[in-house]
Amino acid sequence: MNRRSLINTLIAGLAIPLAPASLALAARSSGRRLILVELSGANDGLNTVVPIADERYREIRPTIGMGTNEVFNIGNGLALHNALTPLADAWQAGDLSIIQGLGYPGQNRSHFKSIALWETGGDGSKAGKTGWLTQDVENMIGAEDLDAHGVSLDGGMGIFASPSGVWLSMTSLNQFRSLGETTERLASTSINGKSTNPALAMVLDRGQSLNTAMSRISKKIARIRSNSRLRFDAGDLGRQAAMAAQLIDAGIDAPVLKIKIDGFDTHENQTWRHRDLLQNLGRALAGLRNALLDSGHWENTLIMTYSEFGRRAVENESGGTDHGTAAPHFMMGGAVSGGIWGIHPDLGALNEGDMAYTLDYRSVYDLVLAEWFGLPKNRFKGFSNSIMNGILTT
């Protein structure tokens, strides 16, 4: 059996009038988009956004601390690691904001468990079971007209864990592309009627969504060439970021994209490892910004970093840092009101070498869902925090 008949059986019995691609595009062209950037391994916040004016920083970071010539000042006694210089433009333009001191109660120090908490909106006493934004995004008005609810460009689907919705990986997009040519004429396959078996009805329904997503996306994705000249010199993250820019440019309508940079678990030899990582992060985000400015999508895009936890404030004996607690994160976009938000953890009040978080990370989730996606009644509304009022000019 060839691939064509495969599709045939996949969407068996379903004649779905497909929305013309252009119409779907128009309906969502003002749609907002979130790009999630996972800093996997736990980023060291103190050497990313450096409290350069704080004497105590030097005490807790005697060997791996950043010198004044290794950072660029951003005011308020803070400075960014020089490797992030590519983001200077965004900072100058007021497109880059820093939210300080993010964490959650009952810190879990396992990479696996803590990233699962960030992915699902849990904390030390309760893990979540589905991705933090999946249900809300699926329930958004007009969500049924999207090409997909989200696309993960790094293969990781944990943050998109959902028993429903169209959450895709790059692998599925590639499959769509290779199978896509056959979909159009198959849309008119004859119908056998809905089943009274609820399980079968569900499977057929899923076949329908798949078929819809595939027929919408395959044409758009066929326009992307794998040898595109869009390249950011930023390693694997650069590749993913370039791909994200291309997907957006191709008109693939998905409100959430996810990319990832790995390697932040810097227990040893942090100085050079961290510099390389931040360099890639800076270049990839700057490249993404430029590409989206060029394609006119910047105003509709919000970029947000996250990581399983911060690293211990006090450096270890191996030229690195161990698993810690709070950390700052970046928010970037045309609608972002740049600057420094929130409160820096008090380096004078460390607990066993760790900083106390000053803002529950779920306040940011609430902000994104409420302010960016217009979903004030989201899962995290209880964490709403006025400290970030005005960070998004919506």
């Binding site: 059986t9 959450w167 791909m243």
Partner: protein, 939 residues
Amino acid sequence: MATVGRFKALLAATAAVFLLSITAVFAQDSKVTRIQRALVVSGYDPGPVDGYWGNRTSSALAQMAGDMGLASAPKSKAGITSEVITALDNAYQTHLEQQERDRRHLQEVMTVADARHLLERSGVGAHPSEILKLLGLNRSAAVTSIMEGLDGSDTSIAPPAFLTAPRIPEYWIRWDYEEDGRQRFRVARDKEMGELRNWWIKEMIATPSPQAERLILLWHNHFVTAYSGVQEEVHAVARQHWTFRELGHTNFRDLTRALVRDAAMLNYLDNDRSRKEQPNENFARELMELFVLGEGNYSEETVKEVARALTGYSYNKMRNFEFEFKPWHHDKGIKNVFDKRGRFDGDEIVDILLAQPAAAEFIVDRFWNVYVSDFNKDPEEIKRIADVFRSSDFDIKVLLRAILASKAFWADDNRATIVKSPIDLLVGSIRSTGVLPAWWASLPNRLASIGQNLFEAPNVAGWPGGADWVTASRLLIRREMVMDIASAEPRREEKDNNMMLSEVAAPVVAMSNIQMMSAPQPKVRKVSVRYAAEDFEGSPKFNITTMGQKDGMPWMQWRSELFEAEGGIDTARFGRVENNDLPWRIATFEMPAGVTYNKLILEFVNDHCCGLGGSDGGDRNLFVDWVALEGRLYLASDGKQTNNYGNCGTARPGKMYCSSKLVLTEFQSFKSGERAITEASGDTLDATLVAERVAFKWAEKLDPNDHWNSFTFALLNPSAAGISIDGIQVRIVRNRYDNGWRTLLQLEDRSCFPSCLGGPLPRSAYTNKNNGDRNVSFILLGPEWRDEKSQWNQLTDAQRKFVSALWMSVPEMLAEAVKGRNWRERDAKNMLKSWLPIFDEIEKSLPKSRYAKLAAKGGLRVIEREEGEAVMSMMAALSNTSPQQIAGIDRQEARWPSWQDRLQPQSLSQTFLAAAPITFASTTQNLMELMLDPVFNLK
């Protein structure tokens, strides 16, 4: 079915504690209670179910024994043999069949569709031979035959070799390793996880009793633990798996109690660090929400109270993950849990939770989803079955029989209302068709790419199942995979693997068999390569070159043909593979006998990248684990990798993401298994303490106001005086008493494995009242107390020498411990400052002590372990063959068409589909058509 004696031996020997921990779960007379209850549910009258062996219990047992044709009836608890248990089981099933005579739906004669339904729901897939066995029976009898296959403790394929290795990996000391050492440790464990996963999948394919596997899958997805969440503690994961095998079909109370003491579970849900000062609520909450009661059936207040009761519930990494109760972390206070008030511990909490009305219904609901329907619920029926389950005191067999005998189970409306899990879809289809595809080794990857990576559930709630199995991105791949199965060529007969093993491993065999040594040299030599491939628009290709010398210059001696690395996973279709789970295979080359060499080069020649979106859209890569020939094992990780693409993969030899050369010069000889200690001899042997590693464990600052101060070392595999121990913690204690100070060396049972002194501690050992742990102390300075005198006197000569060797090595232990990571990271330098005078004093006093008399010539020798582990894992890999059976029958005879002929020819769709196909005529004889029908997603 083959009993796996070796694994049992492991459980009995190195993990005797494991069995203890399970049996300890049963209260004193629970065995009698259990028997009484089994008699009741089988229709006999043992009098009140009270745990007392009285006349009525005896006579009921005698009656049962007579009915079931037992030669004699047990007279006491001791007479409860496995035959009696089996007889009771049979009595129960017979009794139920009699009871079921009144239920018309159970008297119907099994059709092909009925048989397929019962098999797919209660097992994995449905092979025509299994269907044939059930045809002609009535449903009641068919259920009985299913119920006979529930015990998973005897497996048809021997468990992975790493579980039967003589030593358990040194989990407890690994934090002392530097990054590279820890990395090696982690990679070794990841590999073992892959072996365990692979093995389970093979077992599911081969087993004649898939009903046991269905239950284990159910518990695996109920009491969820993910390998990624337990810091590579794969041995703990394996123990949990065996708990499901042994208890999963017995009693839910016992099972839950065992899980409350399960290392992997306590770790995964963070209870191992839960202390009274700061109880962790994770486990307490999930115990109620996901394991016993269900959401909404408890309050937040109860979560807090249960968390308090579970404080101090931990496990011992040193002692093969046995349960450890830490009284100093346990909250002994009064707790209020539901309507009960008391100083509860974990077992009592389980009892209180099970007494809640919601418990039985919650579990029945779980079973309903797995056995009856994912979509249709019948609350009345669930309530009825819950009553049956509860009144059997949570007997899992009673529950399962009630489910399988229910009207709902057989109802037409509930057929085809469960979405096949990836296991059902792939393993089930392999069982149903009796065809093992050539690509079977990639099954774990394929299962993962459609959402069911065994031992890696997405979170503690497990795989949600149902609609989640058929999300848009999964549905597409499911179809592709089913197509692969429907069109699969059966795996060709493998080359005789044992033959290959003996050739590659010849030197090892030769050691234990003189005759082998005189065996003639083979004309060709086998070169084996363990590799894994990721395909993208084709498979990777590689060859092997041997390099020697000619006129003092490196010279090529021999080069193999280009080898196409088959069996990889198509990354464009199924995505990239997690590094841990690569589909490893072994390639074999023949090298002429005359070739001499000092270097091997493995070259990956045809890298190809990438699909759209980069490597995640498709990438061709080659992974090499090792190359073996002539008793030499070349680990890829010890090699050097070069290419023309800058530093692509050069830091991790063996991971070939670009066309590269892997240059191998370092090897381990297979003969290296011998222990270094045998080199020493005579007096030195006795007195010298040999260990693989000495680490700083823990110390407190010496506080003169405190009457008890300690400084602890950890020793990996110490041996002296013929006593050899896997691991031991040596605690130097500074103890204040009325007139001054004493210095002693203390050993305690909980910090030694398997024992502190090569056997039980002397009778006079102290017992810790709180947790029953025993310890002994050996004095160096200050008066020796009477008990300590007895402890020393009750030692054997060898034990005295061993203790002396420990004492005499203390100064050297200190010097060794300084080298490790613990020393740096645990602030030992600071602790040592206060202890330095004590260590000085120890060093001065030792030569005059009684220990010097026994071990004066001693000292400490640290001999790092030779990489026996790598050789072992190589042997395991070589013997990892494909399953020889499918659904309990020989693979060559298992292919479905020959069996299908014995069923009615028009029933093909009944054999393979749970409902009429919707895209093809139900009369089709084309298996591919049936398998690609949307209905094939359901069972």
